[in-house]
Each structure stands twice: as structure tokens, then as C-alpha cells.
């Protein structure tokens, strides 16, 4: 795979690096974040979570069901606001942005991948990917051209006119990943991207994330498959709304059983 696209362009900076003085500012900052759902009784899904993600990192979140992973992903992706604490994406504090500005932020700087793919069955693969730029004000012809580039990054450049229902699960998730990448976002969030896939296909999707990581894409992946998490460059473990382990923290010791040996191969393609 190469960064050179079919149009002969190099996709722009994945991860508009924000420089703060001399030190590069983290792409994502989560600072003492709590989230309380005002249900009856109220549910505290996150309790004082703090970490940062630097440009170009591939981070895996693991943890049991109900530990707050999706809640955290929604907060990081600006789909929701924290009850307290701060979330900063590309240096912008979510608290200080209006709903409209957050939408524009998502349109231009954030990509999402979901467990259920969320592809439109009545549209071609190409148009599904092109829709990733729909709300960024890009004209349709350019959206399609860039969608072809994105499809080539996930290895699906050969089938732009297929319908999603003609594709396998792994291929569908690749389409969804291409849609997340098409706007060259600063960061991509994936919530259980392999949850609906079998083991081998899941490994292949993970291989794709590793390839994208090598290209400089910043990616945050949620999974509760610890084997998968073990392969990621950085692993953060969650339990009961708190971070209990961060592999980037040199002193940290995982409270969970040690993961199996890191597999070095990156050629996981179906």
C-alpha cells in the first residue's frame, strides 16, 4: 500500500499537528472527565478519566462490558459532552464549542467506524465512502474522486460500484473505514470494529489499522478482545468507568492477566 493515490496526490496530513510553543500539543486530551447519565437511578459511566493521545498513535481501549468504553468514545468524538472535566480535540476544547461547531469539527477532523458498519444499502460503495465528505462542503465530483483514493487505501479500489449487500462483512467494514478516512481526519475512532466479524476477518481489519498507523493516521480502537488489544501499539484498560492500565505509562502494571505474545506480522489480509 502506498500513500500515492490514484489521483497522484498525497493525502494531506492525517492529524493536523497543533504546535504549542516547541512541544507538539497532543492531538487528543482527556482531562479528569466524568460522565453521569441522568437516568433513574443516575449511572456514572466515567469517573475522572485522564489521558492524551499524540499524533500518529494507534491506541486500543479494552475492558469488560459496561466499563464505559463507548461512553468515552462518544465524548472523545464530540458526539456528547462530559459531565465534568475537559476534552480537547486538535487543541479545541469541546466545552467552548457550540453544537454547530462540534458538527463542523466532526465533519472535517474526526472519522468514525462502528461495529454495525452503518452503510446505506441503496448506494454504491463509492457513494457510501463519498458521503464521509457530505457535510464538509465538498462538491460531489471531488467527493467521489477522494472516495476512490480512500477505497484504494483499504484495498477495495476494484469494486467502487458494488452495493454493500454484495460484499462480505470484512469488506463492508473496509468500506466504513474508507468512509472514515475520506476526509483525511486528524483522528479516527473505531467502536468494536471487529465485533461483527469472525476471528480471521477481525485480525485482517486490525492489520489494516496497523497499515494506516504506519501511514501516520491517528487511530483509537475500542475492543473487548484482549488478543486484538495486545497487538496495538498502546493499550489502555478500563474497568468500572476508570482507566486501570495504560501501556504508555512506564510504571503501570496491568491488573489483568498478561496478554499473549505480540504477533509481528502485518500481512493480515483476507
Amino acid at each position: 500500500m502506498t500513500l500515492m493515490t490514484s489521483a497522484g496526490r498525497v493525502p494531506e496530513v492525517f492529524g493536523a499537528a497543533r504546535v504549542d510553543g516547541d512541544r507538539p500539543r497532543p492531538l487528543l486530551e482527556v482531562d479528569q472527565v466524568t460522565k453521569v447519565y441522568p437516568s433513574e437511578p443516575p449511572v456514572t459511566a466515567l469517573r475522572g478519566v485522564s489521558f492524551t493521545v499524540a499524533r500518529g498513535e494507534l491506541v486500543g481501549f479494552v475492558g469488560p462490558s459496561g466499563s464505559g468504553k463507548t461512553t468515552l468514545l462518544h465524548l472523545m468524538g464530540t458526539l456528547d459532552r462530559p459531565s465534568s472535566g475537559h476534552v480537547r480535540v486538535t487543541g479545541l476544547d469541546v466545552e467552548q464549542l457550540s453544537d454547530r461547531e462540534l458538527a463542523a469539527l466532526r465533519a472535517t477532523r474526526i472519522g468514525f467506524v462502528f461495529q454495525q458498519f452503518f452503510l446505506a444499502e441503496h448506494q454504491s460503495v463509492l457513494d457510501n465512502v463519498a458521503d464521509g465528505l457530505l457535510y464538509a462542503g465538498v462538491p460531489q465530483a471531488e467527493r467521489r474522486a477522494r472516495a476512490l483514493d480512500a477505497l484504494s487505501m483499504v484495498g477495495l479500489e476494484g469494486r467502487p460500484h458494488a452495493r454493500p449487500n454484495q460484499l462480505s462483512g470484512g469488506q463492508r467494514q473496509r468500506v466504513a473505514i474508507a468512509r472514515a478516512l475520506v476526509g483525511s481526519p486528524a483522528i479516527v475512532f473505531a467502536d468494536e470494529p471487529t465485533g461483527n466479524l469472525d476471528q480471521a476477518t477481525g485480525q485482517a481489519i486490525l492489520g489494516l489499522f496497523e497499515d494506516l498507523h504506519d501511514l501516520g493516521v491517528t487511530i483509537v480502537v475500542i475492543t473487548h478482545d484482549r488478543d486484538i488489544a495486545a497487538r496495538l501499539g498502546r493499550r489502555i484498560e478500563m474497568l468500572d468507568g476508570q482507566i486501570v492500565f495504560d501501556s504508555a505509562d512506564k510504571a503501570a502494571v496491568s491488573p489483568m492477566p498478561a496478554p499473549r505474545a505480540h504477533s509481528s506480522g502485518k500481512d493480515h489480509r483476507p
Binding site: 458526539l79 487543541g91 467552548q96 461547531e101 469539527l105 472535517t108 457530505l134 457535510y135 460531489q140
Partner: protein, 401 residues
């Protein structure tokens, strides 16, 4: 370097909004079609009712305008004491002197009735009135001879009669043959001809017409005109109308009735074309039902498409983007129903009107109003569901999938 300036919300391009508005229709064709049906039926009913009534009156209005709208009719009115007034014998000549008057013809009623034969008892109500008629009458009232010939200078002196179209029908005479005669006030009159219907002058239609000299000689006619038909230059009709009373009877202008038959007929044609309130009402009810149908389908659609809404919000859609998408979808749905309804309404009008040999007229109000009403209904019916879709928070929309 916190550049919020670059966080600018982009409007959807019209082409993109157009494409988005068809998502629901394309993915659920049958359901979309059925929900648009109510609006289609309502619009079709309204277009057909308006079209049929316009088509019915258009024929009559055309005929009236071809006969000319510049005919004025002067008649003897009543005296202050309630008796029938008389028009002066000189009235037609006086009227002819008014400048914009182009022709003046007269009829005078004769006491006595006409029958098919002397054997019919005089109390028979089917008796027809006899009227004298000037020689240029036909052109002025806008009719022609259907059979035989009209009175001329020679036959106007003889016991010769010409039958108005309705009069001929009532006498049972549909053909003119040599020697044919009718019994008019105790003597035989030979029938010279039968007239075509005189739409603007129903009195002529139902009369047996004889010449002035003959009436004076055989029927004891006193020579006073009872009806004077006046044609004026168009554009001066009202001015002439105002002068006629005083000109016809300078002594007693109040005893003269002046009328414009075409005006009365136009009003009548309009009344004939009056919309059928019942069907219009049914159409309105169908539209209302259609509106409820569209609202219902849109609400269901919003609930079903939660994950689509969530995805769009994740892709960067604002509440406004979601709102306008669903609103456009409702308007499109209603518009399709409306367009289909107009088509059906026009077709129904065309089939019915041409089967009755009427002109096919679809008033602009009908089809433009139908389309406009559909758009409005779509907007109103789609507003609440669209607001609901927009109000859904992104996490709420993505949750529970």
C-alpha cells in the same frame, strides 16, 4: 492555535439535498407510494371538479363571445300605475341616431296566439305568441335561418310567418315544405322558414314572427315596438346603455327597461360552472387524510432511521442538516402525490369533457393550486417529524443498535 474560525458549518448543496430527500422514497418505494396516495386522490378530485366545471362553462362563454357582447335590449317597462307602458313608434329611429349605435331592429307583440291548426282549443297553453319583426332582426340578435327563408319586403306584407327555433319545436314543425301553414289569430299564415336558436334573444326564439305591414293589416297591430335590439360599437356599450332610456322614451325614460343579455348569460354560465361543493369538500378531506398519512409515515421513518441519523451526526451533520433532509423528504413525498393527482385530474377532465364534446379547460388555479397545496401539506406534515429527527442527540441515535 485554536482556530475555531475553520469550524464553519457548510450548507448542503441543492443537488445533495435533492439526493438526500429521495433516500426514504428509494428505500421504501411501496410505502412512499401508498402514503402519497391520499394527497394524490385529494388533488385529483379538486383538479377534476375545477376542470370539469370550467370545461362546461367554457363552451357557453365561447358561444356568447362569438355572438358578441355588444347587444343591448330595450323593452317597454311599466307605468307608475303598474300598467304595461308603450314605447313610442319613433323610438327605433331616435336610437339609431346615437353615434356608436351600429344597428337597430325591433319586434312588437301582437295580441293573439299561433297554433298548429284551428282544431286546437284556444285555452291550450301550448299557444305561441306572435310578434312582428323588422327585416334586419336576425343579424342583430345573432342568429340565422335554419330552413327556408326569412321575411323580406314582399313577404312582410303577406300572411307569412317565420318560426323561432323553440316555437317551431313546440308547434311540432321541423321541416319547411311548400304550402305549410299555421293558424295565427283566426287565419292561416304560410310558414316561410325556421330560425336557428337565438341564444341572446330568447323572446325571438319562442315567437312566431310576421312582418310589420302584415301584422297591421291582418292582426290589428298598433305599430308600437315592444322590444328594440341595439348593437353598439364595443367599448361604447355602457355609454349607449345609459342613453337608451331617455332616447327611446324622452317623456317617460323610467318606463323603459334596458338590458345586456350577454352579461346575464355570462353570469349564468359562471353559475353553471360553479364548483361542485360536495366534491371539493371530499377532495379537501382526502387532502387532510393524505397530510396525516405523510406525517405518520415520516414519524415512522424517523424512528426507523435512528441509526442513519446517528451516523449522519457522526459524519458532521448539524441538527439543521437533519431537519432539512426530513422536511425535504416530506415535501417531495407530497409533491409526488400532488403531481400524480394533477395528472389523474386532468385525465379525468379530458376524458369526460371530450365525451361531451366540450372544450377541455384546466384552470391554472386548479393545477398550480393542487401542486402548491401539496407542497404546503408536505411542509406542514413533515415539520414535526423533522424537528423530532433533529432533536435526537447523536448518542441517543447511535445507542441501542
Amino acid at each position: 492555535m485554536t482556530d475555531t474560525a475553520t469550524l464553519e458549518v457548510r450548507k448542503l448543496r441543492p443537488s445533495d439535498l435533492g439526493r438526500l430527500s429521495t433516500v426514504g422514497l428509494r428505500t421504501r418505494k411501496l410505502r412512499a407510494g401508498l402514503s402519497a396516495l391520499g394527497i394524490a386522490i385529494g388533488v385529483a378530485a379538486i383538479v377534476a371538479v375545477l376542470g370539469l366545471s370550467s370545461s362546461a362553462s367554457a363552451g357557453l362563454l365561447n358561444e356568447i363571445s362569438s355572438l358578441g357582447t355588444n347587444l343591448l335590449v330595450v323593452q317597454n317597462g311599466q307605468t307608475r300605475f303598474g300598467q304595461t307602458a308603450e314605447l313610442p313608434k319613433a323610438a327605433p329611429a331616435m336610437i339609431a341616431r346615437i353615434n356608436p349605435v351600429t344597428s337597430v331592429e325591433e319586434t312588437g307583440s301582437v295580441t293573439g296566439n299561433a297554433y298548429r291548426s284551428p282544431l286546437i282549443p284556444t285555452i291550450d297553453t301550448n299557444a305561441l305568441s306572435i310578434a312582428t319583426s323588422s327585416l334586419g332582426l336576425l343579424h342583430t340578435v345573432g342568429t340565422t335561418v335554419a330552413q327556408g327563408s326569412y321575411l323580406n319586403a314582399a313577404t312582410a306584407r303577406e300572411p307569412v310567418a317565420v318560426l323561432g327555433a323553440a316555437a317551431a319545436q313546440r308547434l311540432g314543425i321541423d321541416r319547411v315544405f311548400p304550402g305549410e301553414r299555421i293558424w295565427a289569430d283566426n287565419m292561416w299564415f304560410y310558414v316561410a322558414g325556421i330560425l336557428k336558436p337565438a341564444v341572446l334573444a330568447p323572446a325571438v326564439d319562442s315567437s312566431v314572427l310576421v312582418g310589420f305591414p302584415a301584422a297591421e293589416h291582418y292582426l290589428g297591430f298598433d305599430g308600437h315596438p315592444t322590444t328594440i335590439y341595439v348593437r353598439a360599437q364595443s367599448g361604447h356599450v355602457d355609454a349607449v346603455d345609459n342613453l337608451l332610456g331617455a332616447t327611446a322614451n324622452p317623456q317617460n325614460p323610467n318606463e323603459v327597461d334596458v338590458s345586456q343579455p350577454s352579461a346575464a348569460l355570462v353570469a349564468q354560465a359562471d353559475a353553471q360552472g360553479a364548483f361542485d361543493d360536495l366534491f371539493l369538500g371530499l377532495g379537501a378531506v382526502a387532502l387532510l387524510v393524505g397530510a396525516v398519512g405523510v406525517a405518520n409515515i415520516m414519524i415512522i421513518s424517523v424512528l426507523e432511521r435512528r441509526s442513519e441519523i446517528g451516523l449522519r451526526r457522526a459524519l458532521g451533520a448539524t441538527k439543521g442538516h437533519i431537519r432539512v433532509q426530513f422536511l425535504a423528504e416530506a415535501v417531495l413525498l407530497a409533491l409526488l402525490g400532488g403531481a400524480f393527482g394533477v395528472g389523474i385530474g386532468v385525465l379525468a377532465t379530458a376524458v369526460y369533457a371530450s365525451s361531451r364534446h366540450e372544450l377541455v379547460v384546466i384552470p391554472v388555479l386548479a393545477w398550480a393550486g393542487g401542486i402548491g397545496a401539496a407542497i404546503l401539506i408536505g411542509a406542514v406534515a413533515g415539520l414535526w417529524p423533522a424537528l423530532r429527527a433533529a432533536r435526537m442527540s447523536p448518542t441517543q441515535a447511535l445507542w441501542s443498535m
